[in-house]
Symmetry: D2
Subunit: 185 residues, 4 copies
């Protein structure tokens, strides 16, 4: 129903954040949405870091944000805040790139001591970009995400339930089908 | 007397932030300190964004932080916070890379509406890295910084006085000579 | 259509924040909502400050929050954040007192340098209380609010337009009538 | 050597925060400082909440801040931030009431999920008041503080060590004797 851009801001090639987002993408598709997965780390580093607004890849990324009705923003927590990689992309977008959009903020990290980074660090930055609605987000502990040898991701029950809930609230805010889906670890 | 690393986190090649820091470096040298200018944008973008901790340039940057007694951190304010470029470097440093160090936070921006970004966004990230002392910082408006045709930088009187004051407090916290220097626009 | 609690967190008896909220209450009523004005300063100070959860006035205030579908939270900005008076009330409410509710955050202050206090200080506290939706807020400069000798409040045109816009977005998020109302200074 | 005001911002009569501060006061006295214990909850609630700057008790509290070289600020964490009671007092102090002073921020709370409240909520407010130095603070979990039947306070070993360290750093920043004191639970 809605077009959703699902953005991973992890600099790591084997990121739990990215895998978690791809996992949630399936849930959003089951709600009837068109989901576009996006990894900031696939953008050309030089264009990103030197604020090269006119580089084709940056122009295309900006267009993806424009097209989307909903944006999932996922980031690992480093040094008590979002990743520098994610912020580098946000810095390149227009000031009001989130105007009219619904946003779901997600973070992953090694310690519950960083839970507040979503509300005190990530949300204020997203808010400065003029979104219509930032729905309730979730911080997932690294230890609650397990990646099997075959690449299959498993989320521990408590975290899976919370993620299902914030994903469904985000979907509903976008006018998605209130389909009953079980929390899937 | 002390070794100071003066870090510009601006992605722009013609940055006011960088020029302002180089200007203040002179004042710190006049106080008797050894100042090492550093521009994050000179680091290899790929190493920075893909968290390549072992890249020579990253290893060298980490060593510069280790050697320094004092660190000046300068950043433009984008989207209500520090630059993604600066955060990308901080993300690559050890968790307690600022342990035992004295830090001077500086920001530049287009509007006074972003003044609080130093205290609400930059300081919490710096604090997570364990510094001994973050001295009072300053937010300088872009319009208070003028760059002449010959590259000479002029700071408007009010801003120059405030910058001189926070620079001198930083110097004193590092055990610098309390030399009387006039504020120099 | 919805029941709205409009909360002023100003400690001053002649508060611009309180007057501004009462002014916006009329706009919300014109959208068809039932608006309950509420001044935290009318609560018994001792019950408020000594965390006396069982005091009748606190029990009644808690019930007002429970009944409301939407909450307007207005605060002056002191020391770079919301008022201690407002926080004293929030401290006494249940942890998830905002669950399922739509919230409009508003602040007033003497300088644009405090604009970010809404996003960096007030919203994180409100978010910790589990709201469904915190709609875009607004920071109004004291100088844009004039109180006449007869108590009539006038808001300067730019601020009036912005306030009308965030009030209408809040009303729409609550399912209010999308009536066309002009911005009223 | 220095005069220290040790401020508890807990609204509770049987507060762990207050007891913890009184416990640390002894350590600061052993370092040679003159320590003045202060509980915000002993101030007249009405004066505090209605911004009655001229009330004798408020004038006296302001004078205590003026006299002090160092200030310990202790607060429970409620709703992801400092207490409303503490903020009510800070709101009544002059804008630069902390100018030239050294400040030690301490917090207590029920969950590690609130650790960042010191850096993201409390420090920005304190910084707006112009302190010379906010030394590293500490967040103590409620469960690490035990109060015996005779009122004796015991802090669990890990927390006691951390508290001893931040207290000693604060003392040193105030020019205190670098006496070797063991961490005392």
């Amino acid at each position: 129903m809605a077009t959703i851009l699902s953005v991973s801001g992890s600099p790591s090639a084997t990121s739990r954040t990215a895998r978690l987002l791809r996992h949630l993408d399936d849930r959003l598709r089951a709600h009837g949405h068109d989901v576009i997965p996006f990894d900031v780390r696939t953008l050309p580093p030089e264009a990103l870091l030197h604020a090269d607004f006119r580089h084709t890849a940056i122009v295309e990324a900006t267009a993806l944000f424009e097209r989307a009705d909903g944006i999932v923003i996922g980031t690992p927590v480093y040094k008590a805040a979002y990743s520098g990689l994610l912020k580098s992309l946000l810095d390149l977008l227009p000031q009001y790139a989130l105007a009219g959009k619904t946003v779901l903020p997600l973070a992953t990290g090694g310690t519950t001591a960083h839970v507040l980074a979503i509300d005190y660090a990530l949300r204020p930055v997203l808010n400065s970009m003029g979104p219509a609605h930032i729905t309730p987000g979730w911080f997932t502990l690294d230890k609650d995400i397990t990646v099997g040898d075959d690449g299959t991701l498993t989320v521990s029950p408590g975290a899976a339930e919370a993620l299902a809930q914030v994903t469904d609230q985000f979907s509903l805010a976008l006018g998605g089908r209130p389909t009953l889906l079980a929390a899937t670890g």
